[in-house]
């Protein structure tokens, strides 16, 4: 596991489960004047996939989405859907629909008229419009609010109307621009589940933009982590957590300990610790998740093949089922450890971890 090189993990897989590629973003770059927002982004989205573009604010995630939707044109690069070049089409010719961050429901139209909008402009027969709108409203449980104006319904309900308005057109791809960010925490969690099951039900590919790593982990088939206009890693939530490609990814997704080591002839030296690893000589960086480190009592023998270190507890933070403790080890090394709650932590603890769980990561420029 630890021998997979970081650069291999960063390569974008064309598709995950043998499904056909739906959308292909090829070398897309975007700059506003001197400000470079996206650099050479290449990303494939498979049919029926739930892909999350995750990144901090200013990472370029919304810009990338807007380029796919057609509200922004790329400075260079191409966007393909099948054998159709999408980036040369105006937004109203693309078989892509968007759920906007603030829903963007038409205030002068009722819920029903909002949902019918796309079908009406496409001049579908009125009978078909009526039945498809009714079906879409049913699906998002908004039938009883059909005649209301958007200003008369709650944020969560507006969210569902926005979804129905997009899905009723049966797009091949649905883009969602931080659609849950305006909702409060409880409703947000509920909507995450609803959205995910809705996506499974309709089988349409979703590209979901968020800055919330937990949301990304819960919902996605794959996560594309964007940082300062560049893709750091594209992988399933599990892969991205277990095998982060870079130090940035490791720190952005969950908690981690970054260990700075030095490799010499197949042996890593990191402060007082050392373990064998198939890596080229030179400095190396490792991500060690807090839950991979175990607190042992002094009487217990070291598990064969594991590394053991003793340290002084600096801090203890309660997180419900688990708690995070910070331990000062010899040589200036501070480790964060996740333990079950109420463990009754003494002042001095013995820590143990398997060298296999120290994942080598690339250094991220500008950080660490």
């Amino acid at each position: 596991m630890a021998t997979i090189s970081a650069s291999e993990a960063a390569v974008t897989p064309a598709d995950t489960k043998g499904k056909a590629t739906l959308l292909s973003i090829r070398n897309v770059a975007k700059s506003f004047g001197k400000n470079i927002v996206l650099r050479e982004i290449s990303l494939d989205i498979a049919e029926g996939e739930f892909l999350t573009i995750l990144g901090e604010s200013g990472s370029g995630k919304t810009t990338l989405l807007r380029i796919v939707a057609g509200f922004e044109s790329a400075s260079s690069g191409e966007v393909w859907m099948g054998d159709e070049r999408l980036d040369r089409q105006p937004p109203y010719r693309r078989r892509v629909n968007t759920v906007f961050q603030h829903y963007a429901l038409f205030p002068h139209l009722t819920v029903e008229q909002n949902v019918a909008y796309g079908l009406r402009v496409a001049k579908r027969p009125e009978a078909e419009v009526a039945s498809r709108v009714a079906e879409a409203l049913e699906k998002v449980r908004m039938t009883q609010h059909a005649k209301s104006k958007p200003s008369k319904i709650s944020g969560g309900q507006q969210q569902r109307v926005a979804l129905a308005r997009a899905l009723v057109n049966r797009p091949r791809l649905l883009l969602l621009d931080e659609p849950l960010s305006a909702l409060d925490a409880n409703l947000r969690r509920q909507m995450q589940v609803e959205l995910k099951s809705l996506q499974r039900e309709v089988g349409i590919a979703f590209v979901f933009v968020t800055h919330d790593q937990e949301e990304a982990m819960v919902m996605s088939d794959r996560i594309a982590l964007l940082r300062s206009g560049e893709l750091e890693q594209v992988a399933t939530p599990r892969e991205i957590y277990i095998q982060p490609a870079t130090a940035y990814v490791a720190q952005f997704i969950g908690h981690t300990n970054l260990l700075h080591g030095e490799v010499r002839q197949g042996v890593v030296q990191c402060d007082s610790l050392s373990w064998p690893a198939q890596l080229p000589d030179g400095p190396a960086l490792f991500s060690l998740r807090p839950e991979s480190i175990h607190v042992m009592s002094a009487a217990e023998p070291t598990t064969p093949g594991h590394l053991r270190i003793r340290g002084r507890v600096l801090q203890q933070a309660f997180h419900g089922a688990t708690e995070l403790i910070r331990v000062q080890c010899p040589g200036g090394l501070v480790l964060t450890v996740r333990t079950p709650s109420n463990a009754g932590i003494p002042d001095e603890v013995d820590l143990e971890f398997s060298p296999a769980s120290a994942v080598p990561v690339r250094k991220s420029p500008g950080r660490n």
Partner: protein
């Protein structure tokens, strides 16, 4: 929160102003409209509806009122036809030059009304710029007489003067339309033309109503443009009121006409407010 003395100090001056310069004059006018003038040119303080009867029986009065409304209606339509595209262009396409264009629309308002009306006189007159040019390029042999001293001249001048008043509320309404609604419309497959008619225009209706009200009410009561450029055929109701209060010395009839116009304008304002409310969404 504020002391009683402070409240008195800030509310009394405006109340006083409104009373002295608005309520009392209107009350006086209301009284005058029921009085009459004796052959010896004195005001007879007897109360009857004779003036209102005259207003509807003598053709020249109600015909002029109708003509004034027709002129005002045309001015309103032309102001909207000019003001709306201008506001739309500025709001959606002017980008960085927005402020510059906005100022260019506003600047004419700084120039005296009288100067602008006179300018049209020199353009439209028989020796004016337009006629000279038309003759020079041999479009006509003789100066076109209908250009000046006609309802045409009045409509043209008033349109020029009141277009900014129609433009401003429309521009404000367009600026208030969230741009993501336009994006959402395109996203749902609507062409730019469909987006305009289904989203942008309906949401700008309050501005259109406000602009139309400004243009109509202001030009209905206008008296300078018809005086300078209207000629006998371009006379408007305000000119009649002016002459009734002046040379004709029939204040009671003048007051009756004024009150009719006031009633007309107030009901229009009321109607337009209702319309604006009906079409505004927040």
């Amino acid at each position: 929160m504020f002391s009683r003395a402070y409240k008195t100090i800030v509310t009394v001056p405006p109340l006083l102003w409104v009373t002295v310069f608005l309520l009392i004059p209107y009350l006086l006018m209301f009284c005058y409209s029921f009085w009459s003038v004796s052959p010896a040119q004195t005001i007879i303080h007897s109360w009857d509806l004779a003036n209102y009867r005259t207003l509807f029986r003598v053709n020249v009065y109600w015909q002029t009122l109708l003509r004034s409304m027709w002129i005002a209606a045309r001015v309103t339509i032309f102001s909207l036809l000019l003001g709306y595209p201008l506001a739309y262009f500025l709001s959606f396409y002017a980008a960085k030059r927005k402020d510059l264009f906005y100022q260019l629309v506003i600047i004419p308002l700084w120039v005296s009304y009288l100067v602008r009306a006179y300018a049209w006189k020199t353009i439209l007159g028989s020796d004016g710029v337009l006629n000279t040019l038309l003759q020079y390029v041999h479009v006509t042999k003789h100066p076109l007489e209908f250009l000046l001293y006609s309802p045409f001249a009045v409509v043209l001048t008033l349109t020029h003067i009141y277009t900014p008043f129609a433009f401003l509320p429309i521009y404000a309404a367009l600026e208030h339309i969230p741009r993501n609604l336009v994006e959402a419309s395109h996203d749902l497959g609507a062409t730019p033309a469909q987006t305009f008619w289904k989203v942008i225009f309906p949401l700008s209706i309050p501005g259109v109503v406000a602009g139309a009200t400004f243009a109509f009410v202001l030009s209905l009561g206008d008296f300078l443009a018809p005086l300078l450029l209207g000629g006998p055929s371009g006379i408007m109701i305000s000119n009649i009121v002016v002459s009734l209060f002046g040379a004709a010395y029939n204040w009671p009839l003048g007051a009756a006409i004024s009150l009719c116009m006031l009633a007309l304008v107030v009901s229009l304002l009321f109607l337009s407010e209702r319309l604006e409310k009906k079409w505004s969404f927040s």
